[in-house]
């Protein structure tokens, strides 16, 4: 049993006092930056990267990885408490998490997010050990046609995020798609909607938009509605999820973990996509889909599990192929190389202690996160008691600092403020932010892969039907679109807007 040998090596590395300390620093810093809106793991990792130059490669990678999954863990906290996602992957958590908090159930929401993340993290680490190599080569089979059809499926699923008016959700998705067009066209290098602003050549940043639409707008909205505050203040009920909560969340956590893990392996936004696919899935499977968007605990548990499992999945292409699936993994690639280790197909053979040490440390780190976070819940909940006149300026301050720190440009602050006003108007007129953000993330990937597919097939559209993986995504999307025609499905969908009145 090679696996146990390897696990033994892994534990012997991960449990060395020095590595344990680095792991703790990593998850602690990660949790902190996850909680602060706007300051993401990329910024924190790049700041701390130079401080690892003198450490051993194991310690350095363990710490940087800790920041990454720690941030995913912490990102849900502000989503739930103040409706500002600490992380793009936590956008979906706002939908039901914040509603739970308003009903005095912030504790259980934070609790289920912590436990769900822990369970998902553990499943992802197990998956990493068992199926990493075969899964990595499978992910390579995903060419442009497969990605394109996956994005089609993703946009179809967007519909399930809407819990109010469908036309309004579609308008928002359309707005998101258009926003995604801004910048240099990757196929012709021509600028689109850039108005001769160099800052717009790379498109509008995700962080300023998310901070504006969710953060600034929330503050603006609350300024005029002081009364609502009482709901939060009066009844903060039990801090831990109840037995009933657990029963409701078993399925969502299990499904979210598996979903997140597999989507995490795919390049580009795995954590974001998996969190909302999980939400849509749970809403679809629920006997009471009308509760979603109004404080359904499943709507927190599923996506939180999914985005954490995705962070585990994201390590697979990096550690087995040397191909980082997202920006954060690209930074880790840099960190590996500085320490003289080249991640890739040979890493498992050449550096088994590093490979397995990092994997096992992720398990240890997840445990640390749980122990660290459970006592913190009671402290986080206290944030809700901070007077708004103190809390709001602080939130704005964190948003400003966070947005500036991503690219060090004032331009992003303007973008955030503009989207703060747009987000305020959206909320006033009952337009939701989530479909817009997700369309904004998916749109450019969809366009890029469609055009690449057609270049490669010389304009022949049949590539989307003749390749099995691509065809499968399209068929699922089609079934979802046709589902309203089937009576049983349409009854469920109809219940949602009805409840809204």
């Amino acid at each position: 049993m090679d696996l146990f040998n390897y696990l033994g090596i892994g534990f012997s590395v991960a449990l060395q006092p020095e590595n344990l300390l680095y792991c703790f620093i990593g998850v602690f810093v990660g949790t902190l930056i996850g909680v602060l809106p706007g300051i993401g793991p990329v910024g924190a990792m790049s700041l701390l990267l130079p401080s690892t130059f003198k450490a051993t490669p194991e310690a350095a990678i363990i710490m940087l990885a800790g920041i990454y999954y720690g941030a995913m863990y912490g990102g849900s906290t502000t989503s739930i408490l103040v409706n500002i996602p600490g992380e793009a992957a936590s956008v979906v958590t706002c939908l039901d998490g914040y509603q739970m908090a308003r009903q005095g159930r912030a504790g259980p929401a934070l609790g289920i997010a912590a436990f769900g993340s822990f369970i998902a993290g553990t499943i992802a680490v197990l998956g990493l050990m068992l199926v990493a190599p075969p899964l990595a080569s499978f992910a390579l089979k995903f060419g442009p046609p497969e990605y394109f059809t996956l994005m089609v499926l993703g946009l179809t699923i967007l519909i399930y995020l809407a819990h109010g008016s469908m036309p309004k959700a579609l308008i928002m998705a359309g707005f998101g798609l258009v926003l995604g067009l801004v910048g240099l066209d990757t196929m012709s290098a021509l600028p689109r909607f850039t108005f001769n602003q160099m800052e717009l050549l790379d498109g509008v940043g995700l962080v300023p938009i998310v901070m504006g639409v969710f953060g600034v707008s929330e503050v603006l909205l609350n300024i005029e509605q002081i009364v609502r505050r009482d709901i939060l203040k009066t009844n903060i009920k039990g801090l831990m999820p109840t037995a009933q909560d657990w029963k409701a969340c078993n399925g969502p956590i299990a499904r979210g973990s598996i979903l997140g893990f597999f989507l995490g392996v795919l390049p580009g936004g795995g954590a974001v996509i998996s969190s909302f696919v999980s939400y849509a899935l749970e809403k679809r499977l629920s006997k009471h889909p009308e509760r979603f968007g109004k404080g359904a605990i499943e709507g927190v548990a599923g996506p939180e599990a999914a985005n954490n499992a995705a962070t585990g999945g994201a390590f697979i292409p990096l550690m087995t192929l040397g191909i980082p699936p997202n920006v954060i993994m690209a930074m880790l690639l840099g960190a590996f190389m500085i320490h003289g280790v080249t991640p890739g197909p040979l890493m498992m053979k050449q550096h088994p202690d590093l490979f397995w040490g990092v994997i096992v440390s992720m398990y240890v780190g997840n445990l640390m996160l749980l122990i660290l976070n459970l006592p913190l819940i009671s402290i986080w909940v206290q944030i809700l008691k901070v007077p708004y006149k103190v809390l709001f300026p602080l939130i704005i301050l964190f948003c400003l600092v966070g947005v500036y720190s991503v690219n060090n440009t004032v331009f992003d602050i303007y973008i955030m403020l503009i989207f703060g006003i747009i987000g305020y108007l959206m909320k006033k007129f009952d337009y939701e932010g989530a479909p817009m953000i997700l369309a904004f993330v998916l749109g450019p990937m969809m366009e890029n892969n469609l055009r690449k597919s057609l270049i490669m097939s010389q304009g022949d559209f049949s590539v989307f039907f003749t390749r099995p993986l691509a065809a499968a995504s399209l068929i699922i999307a089609l079934l979802l679109l046709l589902s309203p025609l089937i009576p049983w499905f349409s009854k469920k969908r109809a219940e949602i807007p009805k409840e809204e009145d």
Partner: protein, 324 residues
């Protein structure tokens, strides 16, 4: 009347002496505060890492910290453009200058003029580019690949990190020379080039040394590199030059400040960065990321900047990207 004029003259002379003295003094005790070095890329990449090591080393020779400030955007041009527009030419604000600074003015309306807006300090290093195919591809040499492409027009697909970049230009130069027509599939960044090539979604990949791990593991085959000389990392792989093409491409980069910097300050900065370059730590990081040293002093860098600007104009014409 005449007296008054003399008085003014004296005042002016005094002022000139004072100003000159201040200037000399400024150069003499330069630097008296930390220097900002703009790196127009996100933190953590290969270029950023190199610049951070360099900045760290330069600290020793300047007696002041060199603070790296990441200002990504516009394909690495927002950083230098911001410097040109806002920084004083006092030597306390510098920027790493990537190839895009010379390329974009030919294809877009830009706010800077590479020939007028910069004071060139030092050229540092360049990248190792190469052409890779999947290891089970039938082509063992570049010649076999090019022969196949010539015999099968419009059939070979190749990936680069985007339209107009050095990888794209060089592949089209090769095609022009050999009378090949092949299909360019622009990707979003170098990592996609590697995965598209490994996954068999394109037949050929042209990229900087990002393919090194896969070449080491035998998943990709490196057919040729574009440096001046063979690399000691892949001693068996020929350069384009050896194969009979007069093409050397490394997209060298260096450091510049805003226009009209005091030559004395430039000299101080140049000397410190030169020493910082020669330190083993910088040589090691270059080696780790497979970069090639391409040192040029301030004057040679300025000349080379002019040449690169003209070359990029021709490249934009070759690719049909020249702005109207």
């Amino acid at each position: 009347m005449a007296k008054k004029a003399t008085k003014v003259m004296i005042w002016l002379a005094a002022l000139a002496v004072y100003a000159g003295g201040a200037l000399a003094a400024a150069a003499a005790d330069f630097p008296s505060k930390p220097i900002t070095l703009i790196v127009p890329w996100a933190a953590g990449g290969s270029t950023d890492t190199c610049m951070r090591v360099l900045a760290d080393n330069a600290n020793k020779y300047l007696g002041q910290p060199v603070v790296v400030e990441n200002k990504p955007g516009g394909g690495g041009t927002v950083g230098p453009a911001t410097m040109v527009a806002t920084a004083k030419p006092d030597g306390y604000t510098l920027s790493q200058i990537p190839m895009g600074v010379f390329r974009l003015p030919h294809t877009l309306k830009t706010t800077w003029d590479p020939l007028k807006d910069f004071t060139w300090v030092i050229q540092l290093t360049g990248y190792t580019y190469g052409i890779v195919v999947k290891s089970d591809a039938p082509w063992k040499t570049l010649k076999e690949l090019l022969d196949y492409a010539k015999a099968n027009p419009g059939k070979v697909t190749y990936a680069t990190p985007g339209v107009g970049v050095m990888q794209h230009v060089t592949m089209e130069k090769l095609a022009k020379k050999e009378g090949i027509s092949w299909i360019h599939v622009p990707q979003k960044g170098g990592i996609e080039v590697i995965s598209a090539t490994m996954g068999g979604h394109v037949m050929v990949g042209a990229e900087t040394s990002g393919w090194a791990p896969q070449v080491a593991s035998g998943d990709l085959r490196l057919l040729a590199i574009w440096t001046e000389e063979r690399s000691k990392n892949w001693p068996d792989v020929p350069t384009l030059k050896e194969l009979g093409y007069d093409i050397v491409a490394s997209s060298p980069f260096g450091i510049a400040g805003p226009k009209d910097m005091d030559p004395k300050v430039v000299a101080i900065l140049h000397d410190a960065f030169k020493k910082a370059m020669d330190e083993p730590s910088f040589q090691k990081v270059l080696n780790d990321f497979y970069m090639v040293p391409a040192y040029k002093n301030s004057k040679d860098y300025a000349d080379s900047a002019n040449e690169m600007f003209l070359e990029e104009k021709q490249n934009a014409e070759i690719l049909g990207l020249k702005k109207q």
